[in-house]
Amino acid sequence: MGMRMVSQFIELIDGVGCADDLMLVMSDICATLGFQFFAIAHHVDILQAPASAIRLHNYPARWADYYDGNALGVSDPVHRASHKTSAGFRWSHLPTMIPLTVADRRVLALGSEQGIGDGFTVPANVPGEALGSCSFANQAGRPLPEAMLPMAQLAGTFAFECARRLWSVRAIDSEEKTPVLTDRQRDCILWAARGKSDWEISRILGVSEETVARHIKQGCERYGVNKRTLLAIRALFDGTLTFTDIFRR
């Protein structure tokens, strides 16, 4: 029964030719699954983002305005949690997934004041592109359709791919623009990311403190940034460094 429903969803999504079609199809799928609202989005600040950033939803207008006005796209706790997992998750499980700040709790409380209750988010992460997700939600007081969540997970994944196709999403950095660090620059920024000072790094690598400072400065220049924190983050984003590199040992 579940797979027949999913096949019908995929057939509907396959027939989509423009964003308006996807809106109609998703409203339909949403209702069949037992949800009222859906949102397909890249996790970016929509007012600053390029036109290629995906966003499609049928949330109530008041909620959407608040959300955009406060640039919640990047810090929304639901979006943050979807970077921690690849499987779909219920919003009510957020506190067990990521540390929630006071502001996060305020966002979630405000959402419920606006009438948004529990939801289910399917992370949609394609390497090299902005992170994204497809969410389904209900108004406060209306329970999640538990039995439908596996179907919602597949529907969300296929819907996001459809949106990628419609929005012609491409990698954030084209290959020729990705800066390349020397091995020594990479070593230095790796130790800096592990919290070591220039002096400590110089002891570890057996070079002078000035040499370490120069490597990091030149690394920053290659990426066009002026702070080592930014250099570490950019290197993490493009895969020059990985989280495993930093936390191992």
């Binding site: 797979m3 779909g88 992460n125 997970q153 990705t178």
Partner: protein
């Protein structure tokens, strides 16, 4: 260079095969912590690495491993029907023109841009291989997070069952249909082979 190889049980595996099994150990055992057999402390080789398996291996001219994948005939025991039949809503697809893609492996020594290029080349090679050998579908098992990426290659994918939690991971089985327009679909999605990795003539490993 793309090598299309078969497993040769008693012969000494050639350098490309050895490098692939070592890379698989590094990725699936050391990095992903899969509970799979390791031979000699260096090579990840399991019961499906037998004379029925085929391998697509991208390697440097000196034999250094870049990326690889293993194809299993679905008419013989393979991973979906032997280990995870519960991922399929009905019987796992079994036919002479359906192969299972397993152990899709990108070398850990690759940088981000290289990884993407090697990945794209290997995906393109899978499609070329299917079209050249009368393979009409592939099946595959993927952790759910990979599914978005697999769909993003642009080819036609269908789920074979609902996402299922298995030992802390959410797994899904998919079928990928290969038709004469699949190369076009890949190109439209921006998936292109590296020019220097064109197909090598098929040869046996031993």
């Amino acid at each position: 260079m793309l090598h299309i190889l078969r497993f040769a049980p008693r012969a000494v595996p050639d350098q490309v095969m050895q490098a692939m099994f070592a890379a698989r150990k590094s990725v699936f055992v050391d990095l992903l912590k899969w509970d799979v057999p390791v031979i000699d402390g260096r090579f990840e080789i399991d019961q499906f690495d037998n004379r029925h398996a085929q391998y697509l291996v991208l390697a440097e001219p000196d034999g250094r491993h870049l990326g690889s994948t293993r194809l299993l005939p679905t008419t013989r025991p393979h991973i979906l029907d032997s280990l995870y039949p519960e991922l399929c809503d009905s019987d796992p697809p079994r036919a002479g023109d359906i192969y299972e893609i397993t152990r899709f492996c990108l070398d850990r020594g690759l940088r981000a841009a290289e990884r993407r290029a090697v990945r794209d080349t290997l995906v393109t090679a899978l499609v070329d291989h299917a079209l050249a050998n009368g393979i009409h579908s592939y099946t595959a098992i993927a952790e759910f997070g990979w599914l978005q990426q697999i769909l993003a290659f642009g080819w036609r994918c269908r789920p074979l069952g609902l996402p299922t939690p298995v030992a802390g991971r959410t797994l899904g089985a998919i079928r990928i249909d290969i038709t004469p327009d699949t190369p076009y679909l890949l190109a439209r999605a921006g998936i292109n082979a590296l020019p220097e990795h064109r197909r090598d003539e098929p040869r046996a490993a031993a």
